[in-house]
Amino acid sequence: MNNWPLLSLLIWLPMVGGLVVMFLRDERQGLARWLSLLVTVVVFLLSLQLWAGFDNQQAGMQFVEQVAWVPAIQAQYHLGIDGIALPLILMTTLVMVLVVLAGWHVERRIEQFLAAFLMLEGFMIGVFCALDALLFYVFFEGMLIPMFLIIGIWGGPNRVYATLKFFLYTFFGSVFMLIGLIYLYLKTGSWALSDWYVEPLNMQEQIWLFLAFLLAFAVKIPMWPVHTWLPDAHVEAPTAGSVVLAAVMLKIGGFGFIRFSLPVTPDASQELAWLMITLSLIAVVYVGLVALVQADMKKLIAYSSISHMGFVTLGLFVLLGALADPARQDALRLAMGGAVVQMISHGFVSAAMFLGVGVLYDRMHTRMIKDYGGVAQVMPWFTLFAVFFAMANSGLPGTSGFVGEFMVILASFQAGFWLAFLAATTLILGAAYTLWMVKRVMFGEIHNPEVKKLEDIGSREAVMLTVLAVLVLAIGVWPEPLLDMMNASVTHLIELAAHSKLG
């Protein structure tokens, strides 16, 4: 199978699957569900094939496909993955299987619902594979329409406001990137990222480009202060939508920094690292505090996501000052590697958290913490999972949440004690808001009669949560395979970021 265009298959199979599902008639709901599940499972298996054929030692792009796409402007259909994109793709394909399961009982227009998710999957995988900037942009923006519909059609009461805010915020952020991309294209005469990595740029150009990229990716990831769309979107989105949003779409912001900001504008990245570090720490500390006072479970997890994504940007930028210092290369690798591990880990943990809220919401139709209490008495199995994922979310050793955060905090010490100290507050804050929520929801006396009638999780829900729990635990106790996979690519990224483009 090594000669197959695997990446194209991964992108187009869900898209075509989505088209087919969309045209199924209303009465064929069962077929729509099983077909979607089949497509996502096949895509997942194909992505495993990708892993099997991947060479860990190689830092360059693998599985490269390249054909002319829009010759008039030299745009190419150019795909390829490295050790950073691969784990993200694996995570995406797995999460999408769970997402189809999570949306299993959606009643309204299920064929359109599932079709939107399948299309979304294709776009998201496309973003991780694209090596042509225009292609990247098309996939990056293409995601907006299906997500817009998912929140808008199947969301909560205030869905229209939330989805418009989501769309316009992200659209606004990315159009400036488009101008930046056009500028780079005109300068280099090519949309190929590899050409952009070697193009010399003066400091002024780099700063402007960096800011253009920042606006796009900061909105997506999201960073304080442009994060306000996320809590709204999460609260209103259906469970499956929240899962995709948190698990995959936020990572695309982080991935953008890795693909564009650091290698294309390395000098500006160093110059403005202080800004990124400050914003990241504000996200970690301030947004963590904001999470503490949330009364709505989904909102709490949304703020917790922003806080956790702060670690990703922190890890990417915290040690850029040390690029020239050979003694601190290990710490640098630790920081950047930690950022990537954090992305993967947060993908699984946040997916699990949102699925958990979905489990409760399906039964009680409320997300308010105060409506619950004593759930453990009637849903023991669910409580087991919930407590486990809460531990992972607060970064308990032995879970995946610990690995990434620990790597980043450790590396931060090289940048300064107080910096690391502030970053480390997440271990306390994260534990505080997550465990406090779990305490209020799961334990204590039952004061709401509705809670008494709750039934424990069924087999579908158990499967979803078990898969995620196994992965969270596996990465937590044995992160080696993941670290091996991306090691060479992280080193390569550092080389690119260290290579000055001035003069």
Binding site: P71, A72, I73, E141, I145, L149, G152, R159, T163, I179
Partner: protein
């Protein structure tokens, strides 16, 4: 160059005009039950002429002379490409129109004939090598359009729109004609190529030339509906029958680009330094006002009218930066015509007798009543908003690229900001179709030809976007 060769070169135009006359005769003398023939003949004519226009390229690679008929007429690749698109768009408009007039129980034959006549006018405009030819083509188009807008003469709004259109159009024509006469006075020729040589020899700040330029630009801006000469456009769009609107909002934009190109580039290229500033201002104002005011509209026709103004702004933006920019504008005009004929077409398919579908409420819950139509409309709106992977994105990308290349980076940034504002009202259409519940549960059923036409309009947005290569290469080839 003998007469025979010249005639074969203008054969498409001749057929178009002849058929317009034939159809007029048939309309007068055919018995009522046979009138369906006129629709079919009109469609056949458009298809035939499109094929005839393309034929030389299919059998070989023709080399066209500079101009024919004593310099009145020019045939080139760009012109032929535009003509083919005008014919395709007119074809779609006719298919939509048939269903619309059937629902309204009005006579559609006049509409078909007026469309054929306007297409003839546009073909002449596109091929004009001489200011007189250009003006003749323009007036043929304009007169046919005035008449078409007034078709529902029992409806006040329609008549009001027609009068407004006529008066404003006449003013614009006057300006244009005055500009032309001044230009003739300054250069001593009506021939665009000769004007070009003459202008190059004159000092750039020659007052007579500048005066001529200003009048020409004002006239063109009036015709295109660029701010601040746009006041007539929303009223006309709102008042005109949707079928007529779908036609005059789409194909004439291609022809509009053609005259812009012929006058400003073929004729006044040496004065680019003078007209670029004015065009940049028109572009900026149009994009700004069009997008901002469209947000406030609850009437979809008015909203689309303001959106047209903003698209004209984008079209003008491309005129600022040499051949790459003209190619971008050409691509933009062609794809915009396809979008707008589809969007208006969809509106008219939803119209009931005596009741235009024109407010956002009429689109409410369309996804429940007709999922396919809703999807097509969503494609069209996303394409107009410039969201990838739809073709509208590539049009905007191409124009922006040429603007950045010309060093107009701030203009490009303003353009994308306005595009973001614009996204809001296009999204609102998607919102009412998908998120709101429908007031009546009646399924929309359409005849096969209308279904096919709307499917072509909608899917073309996606396909021309995903496979943007061929059309873009075609435009590059046409302009080189």
């Amino acid at each position: 160059m003998n007469w025979y060769q010249a005639l074969t070169m203008i054969l498409p135009e001749i057929i178009m005009l002849a058929m317009a006359c034939v159809l007029l005769m048939l309309q007068a003398f055919l018995p009522e039950r046979r009138k369906g023939l006129i629709h079919i003949l009109a469609l056949v004519t458009l298809a035939l002429v499109a094929i005839l226009t393309m034929r030389p390229y299919l059998v070989g690679s023709p080399v066209w002379p500079e101009s024919i008929l004593q310099g009145a007429f020019v045939r080139d690749r760009a012109g032929d490409l535009m003509k083919v698109f005008v014919e395709i768009v007119a074809f779609l408009a006719l298919v939509y129109g048939k269903q619309y007039f059937r629902v309204w129980q009005e006579k559609a034959e006049d509409f078909y004939i007026l469309v054929i006549l306007s297409v003839f006018g546009m073909m002449v405009m596109i091929s004009a090598a001489n200011l007189l030819t250009l003006y003749l083509g323009l007036e043929t188009l304009a007169l046919a359009s005035y008449a078409a807008v007034a078709m529902f003469r029992k409806i006040g709004l329609s008549v009001e729109a027609a009068v407004k259109y006529f008066v404003m159009g006449a003013v614009a024509s006057g300006m244009l004609l005055y500009g032309m006469s001044l230009l003739y006075g300054a250069t001593g020729s009506l021939q665009l190529s000769e004007i070009r040589t003459a202008v190059a020899a004159l000092p750039a700040h020659d007052p007579l030339l500048l005066l001529a330029l200003v009048f020409l630009l004002v006239g063109l801006a009036f015709k295109l509906g660029a701010v601040p000469f746009h006041m007539w456009l929303p009223d006309v769009y709102e008042g005109a029958p949707a079928a007529v609107m779908s036609f005059i909002a789409s194909a004439p934009k291609i022809a509009g680009f053609a005259i812009l190109y012929r006058v400003l580039v073929d004729g006044l290229a040496p004065m680019a330094g003078q007209w670029q500033g004015i065009v940049a201002l028109l572009a900026l104002l149009s994009m700004g006002l069009g997008n901002v005011v469209a947000i406030a509209q609850s009437n979809v026709k008015r909203m689309l009218a303001y959106s047209t103004i903003s698209h004209v702004g984008f079209l003008l933006l491309g005129m600022l930066s040499g051949t790459a920019g003209y190619t971008a504008s050409l691509f933009y005009a062609l794809t915009y015509a396809l979008m707008s004929v589809g969007a208006f077409g969809l509106l008219m398919l939803l119209s009931a007798r005596g009741q235009e579908a024109e407010t956002l409420d009429d689109l409410k819950g369309l996804n429940q009543r007709a999922p396919w139509l809703a999807l097509m409309m969503a494609f069209l709106m996303a394409s107009m908003a410039g969201v990838p992977p739809f073709v509208g994105f590539f049009g905007k990308l191409y124009v922006l690229q040429s603007a950045v290349e010309a060093g107009q980076i701030w203009l490009a940034i303003a353009a994308v900001l306005f595009a973001v504002m614009g996204a809001y009202y296009y999204l609102r259409v998607i919102k009412v179709m998908y998120f709101d519940a429908s007031e009546n549960e009646q399924f929309v059923s359409l005849p096969l030809d209308a279904q096919a036409a709307i499917s072509i309009s909608g899917t073309a947005q996606l396909l021309l976007g995903v496979f943007a290569g061929p059309l873009m290469s075609l435009c590059v080839w046409a302009m080189s």
